[in-house]
Structures are given as C-alpha cells and as structure tokens.
Symmetry: C2
C-alpha cells in the first residue's frame, strides 16, 4: 500500500522529468560549494552506437537524472533500431554530416562521445561548438596536444567536459578512496595495477592505430594509470616502462601488446603496473599502506567489483556502473556537484600526459620525469 | 593395535637410525637416477646460532633423515645453551678459531651455514676444505665471483653444496610448479612477485653492507627473483630496475630500501616484482598463464602458504618448511635424490647473477641483458 507521501514524491519526480527546458550555460559557475541536487534531467545523445554505446544506453534506462534522448550515428540501420528500442524522436537523431545542427535542438543537453579514440578530438570540438555539454569516453584523446585543445574548446564554449571514468562513481572504489583519505591505510607506499585481457578479433578498430591511437595502454592500461593516481592520491613524478611484443602481426607498429610500467610519487610511494592485450585474468589492484592494504579483484571491469583489507571485505553496494555515472554526471553538469575524484578534462589530460611519458619511456629505455 | 608389519618397520627404522657411520664422499656420483631413499641419517652442525639457526634447529627435532649433532659459534654462552637444549656432545661443538678440526669428526656429515651473508663465502670454502657437505643459507654469496669460487671449492673437495631454498620443498609451491609443468596453466605469460617487510632494529646486521652485502633485494627480494624462475620455468634474458630510497639514514649507501624490478623471458613472458624493507603486507606471487592463473599469498613466509587458481584452493599439506627441507637435503646428499627444483650452487649462482644485474640496472637506468 502506497502512502500519500510516496505518491507525492512520484508526482514530484514526474514533474521534474518533464521540466527539461532550463539548461545552465553557466556550467559550474556561480555555484561555489552548492552540492544539493536539483531534479532536472540531463538529456543525452550518444555518438557511436557500438557495443559500449549500447551498454550505456541500457544502463540509462534506470537513471533518475539522465535520459537518452538522441543519437549520432553513421549507420542508418542502427539509428532506426535505436529509435525504436529507446523511443527516440527522429528529430533528435543525427548523422556525422548534419550533427552540427544539434545546437538548435532544445531537447539535447549533452552528447556522450563513444567513438574510436582517435575520433574523440574532432567530435568534442564540434559538440562544444554546438554549445552542448560533452561527455567523452576514455581515453579522452590520443595525445596531449589534442587533450589541451579539447579542454580549451569546451572552456571557450562554456560547456562542461566530462570523461567516462566510471570507476570514479563505483561504490567499492569510492569506499577505498575514502579509507585512504581517512588515513585508515596509513601512509601510502605502493600501488600495483594489472590491467589487461587477451584481445580477440584482429580486425577491430582497437588494433588500428589510426582509430585507436595506441594499443593496450590506451584502452585498458589507462585503468591502472588512472587508479595509481586516485588510489595513492598523488601525481607521479617519474615513469619507466618496458614493452614486450610477441605477435607483431596482430599488434603492428603503434599498437602496444604488453607494457610494464612503473611510477614514483612525491611521498616516496611507487607503483608497478602491467598493461596487456595478450592475457586474461588481469583485473587487479593492490594498494599498500603503512597500516593496512586493500586488494581489489575485479578492480575495474563492469562489475561486481570486490575489495578487501586485512580485516575482511570492503562493503559497498553493487551497482550498474554506467547508471550511477550518468546520474552523477547529470548532477555535476546541472547542479555543479563536485565528485570525490574529478572526471573532467584536466583529469583526463593528466592520464594522457602520463601515457605519453610511458610510451616515451618504453621507446627510449629512459626514466621520464613528469 | 599395531600390526607385526608396522612393528618390523619401526625396528628397521631404528636400526637405520643408528647406522650412521657410512658417509659417501662420492656425492651424487655413481648413482645416476637412483631416487630410492636409504635410511642413513645426515648429521648436521649449524654455524651461526641466531634466530634463523634456532628455527632450523627446532624444526630438525622432527626430522627423520637429518639430525643436529653439532654447532659452530663464536658465543660460548650460546654454545653452552645449545649443548643443553639439543643434547650435543661437547666434541661436536666448535668456535670460529678451531672449526677446521671438524674434518676429523666422524659424527658430522654437513655444516649448515646460517651466518650473515657476507660471511658465507669464507665459511663455505673452509667447510669444503674440511671435506664436509655444505648447506648454505641464501643468498649463497654477496656477488657472482664469490658464488663461482664456492661452487668450484665444493666441486674440488667432492662435497655437496646445497642452498637453503626452503620453498623448493614447500608442498603448495611444488604443486603449483607441477601444475605449470603439466600445462594446467597453459603458456606462461606473467609472474608478479611482491617480497618485503618493514624492517625493525636499525642496528641489525642486515642493514650493514659489510655483513649483508646489500639490502632488501639480497635478503627478501631474492624470493621473487628465485620464484620468477621456478614459477615460469624459464631463465630471464633481461632485467630493468628502479630504486627508491626514502630513508637514507636507516638505509645507507649499499643497502637498498625499495627496488622495483622487471624481467623478460625467452618465451615472451614478463615479470614485475617489488623488493622492499619499507613496507609490510608484501608476500604475494601471481603466476598468469594462457589458461589459468595462480595467486599465492602468503607465498614465501614460514607458513602456512596459500595458493588458489580460478577453480579454488590448491590443496597441499602444511608442513614445517625447515623440517622437510632438511630431510630432503639428507636424501639429496646421501642418496643422490634429485629435487623437482634444484637447490644447488648453480641455482644460487643464477639468482646472484640476476641480483647483480638488478643492482646494475637500478644504478644505470639501463636494461641489462643476461
């Protein structure tokens, strides 16, 4: 039996869901410290209707603050299927020739770019130019120069630029970060990240440098790069790296198969990581502090994530990562909410700067200072 | 109720236990492939009555093939205490001035050298010169030159030279090695070894280069160095290394605090390892193959060792490591038994060669080929 109160809440939510007209150009401005959630809905178009785009769309079905309202796709058959599946209005669906017109569409607040990596840069510049918020899948770009241009373009356009760091919203991950911040682990001494999988189909875009911008490091190693930072709470000051290639046909020039990389942090902590397209069973983080440690395995796949300390499991709810990510990103873009760990362009620029340094370290055999 | 058969077995064992006179100078010679155990007892003197020497002596109480019959010590009070505790004959107890006389003692077959690392070389040469088998704690020596001299001296003297690689007799470890040999893990791709502890008393010999020959790498990192070899079943062809020192007072010149090191193997497998005196919670191995993985934690402390694959725990008995080690070493020295993983001087020389290369890689920043 439902109470009058829950009924009113539902009415309120429904009312909120349709009050979708107001869209703050003043992204994160003039709202210092404001954390309270509004009830506006972030209306999102997805660009790139591949398998991950589909996963995000499915996850958004249960969002309370974000709603899929459009798509950008170069494949008419996919667009038609999505229109039907997700009840999208035809006027919210664009192809790559006409999507600059999205600027005149009042029913789309943000575009989530889920194309191959090397296409992110031009898409983000175009979306910013159309005055829409950008959510960009990671890696945000394939090099530092592109990342800087993307950040500048979004700043100039006054739109938000968020990057698909879904782990920054994952409850076990956040709980571990809070434990570290609270000093529960003591001084942080070591992070180990093992990120990889045995990649299948040799014809996929991830193995084509022109589309991917790189190999395993860009695609999966980035989880260890990024986690080394949010787990230690520090920025690395140096990297070293060693590349191993056993299959130069499957992994041609510019596509790294396996890279071991190491980092040093200002406080004396170090990190040892592995990035690979050549093996499975690799989705593990280990954070070691003076007082306690955290083992995470799985640490960054689509879930459920598991973590434990010397005292036992880290308890946190299992969630659909992309559902929480999109709801939280709505709060960031619409309410100026500050996430515990940033998901903005600067956060992405740091990862890309480190990955460029790792590639340089692997190529030269030298320690690269950051 | 005991059967006549088990009674006869006991009689046979007792008879064997006292037939301790025969001692084969022909160590491992003229007995090709002979694996059957004799029932002779290896009579052992321990040199160096510190905490680990005591642990070995205690473990030997339950040995069936090895027996503590003597000591070599520079501390008369310790010697007196050991004589009482372990019922040692005074004529089997030596100091560092007179222990060359051990050559005339028919009741000591082998000497277990458990002194600080830098003292191993001279002691081993002296013991070999006295015609006794040598068991030497690891690291066998503090550099390659010493290791080569120790091997040559024992060969020349016709005595055995075994090194205290207790993990080579630990049942979980052996089970994992057998699984790898059987192909249960598929092609081996990655080994990760984390070996370390936060060292206490700054005055101990381990932190004095003249006695230890090095820092954490020599003392605890050697577990990861050695395991990288027995876990992958290959010898590394290159190493890289990065040293971090946060406390140059506690860890002076020549005493490494933390070293990350990486290895490459002929088959394309790689290893990422950490050796440290600066943190606890580090006793983990991870072996990743194409088909399955093994996690070990604890992986090399005094036990119990734990290992699991994707299918669950690796079942093996928990044993007192040094008891099994000493019984097995008796079989090696007296019967010519071949262990699954060697524990001889050549095995130690390989580790020491790799550790020298790791130190060189850390000092130069260069990849060192082996």
């Amino acid at each position: 039996m439902r109470s009058r109160r829950s009924f009113l809440q539902d009415v309120s939510l429904s009312a909120a869901a349709i009050s979708i007209g107001s869209f703050p150009k003043s992204y994160n401005k003039g709202r210092p410290g404001r954390q309270a959630e509004s009830s506006r809905i972030l209306r999102v178009a997805i660009m790139g209707l591949g398998s991950y785009g589909t996963m995000v769309a499915e996850a958004m079905r249960t969002c309370t603050r974000a709603q899929l309202t459009g798509v950008i796709s170069g494949t008419p058959s996919k667009m038609a299927a999505w229109q039907k599946t997700y009840h999208l209005e035809p006027e919210n669906c664009y192809n790559y020739e006409n999507y600059s017109r999205i600027k005149d569409n009042p029913n789309i607040d943000a575009v989530y770019v889920i194309t191959p990596n090397a296409l992110h840069h031009d898409a983000v510049l175009a979306i910013a130019g159309a005055g829409k918020h950008v959510i960009c899948e990671k890696p945000m770009s394939v090099n530092v120069r592109e990342a800087q241009e993307m950040i500048a373009a979004c700043q100039k356009a006054g739109v938000g630029l968020l990057v698909g760091y879904r782990m920054h919203f994952e409850p076990h991950t956040l709980q571990v970060i809070r434990m570290r911040m609270n000093g529960d682990l003591g001084k942080i001494l070591f992070f180990q990240g093992l990120s990889g999988f045995a990649i299948g189909d040799p014809g996929q875009w991830r193995l084509q440098k022109k589309l991917s911008g790189g190999g395993a490091l860009m695609d999966i190693g980035i989880y260890s790069v990024n986690a080394a930072r949010y787990m230690t709470g520090e920025e690395p000051v140096w990297v070293t790296a060693q590349e191993t290639k056993t299959d130069p046909v499957k992994f041609p020039e510019g596509i790294d198969e396996t890279i071991q990389f190491e980092m040093g942090f200002p406080g004396g902590a170090v990190a040892s990581c592995l990035s690979t397209y050549a093996m499975n069973h690799l989705d593990k983080f280990f954070l070691n502090g003076e007082m306690d440690f955290v083992d995470m395995q799985p640490s960054s796949n689509y879930g459920p994530i598991r973590a434990h300390t010397s005292g036992g499991p880290v308890n946190a709810p299992d969630v659909t990562h992309q559902t929480v990510q999109m709801d939280e990103m709505a709060s960031i873009l619409l309410d100026g909410k500050k996430p515990l760990v940033p998901v903005d362009g600067l956060e992405a620029l740091r990862d890309i700067t480190i990955m460029e340094a790792i590639y340089k370290a692997a190529a030269t055999g030298q320690r690269i200072m950051l």
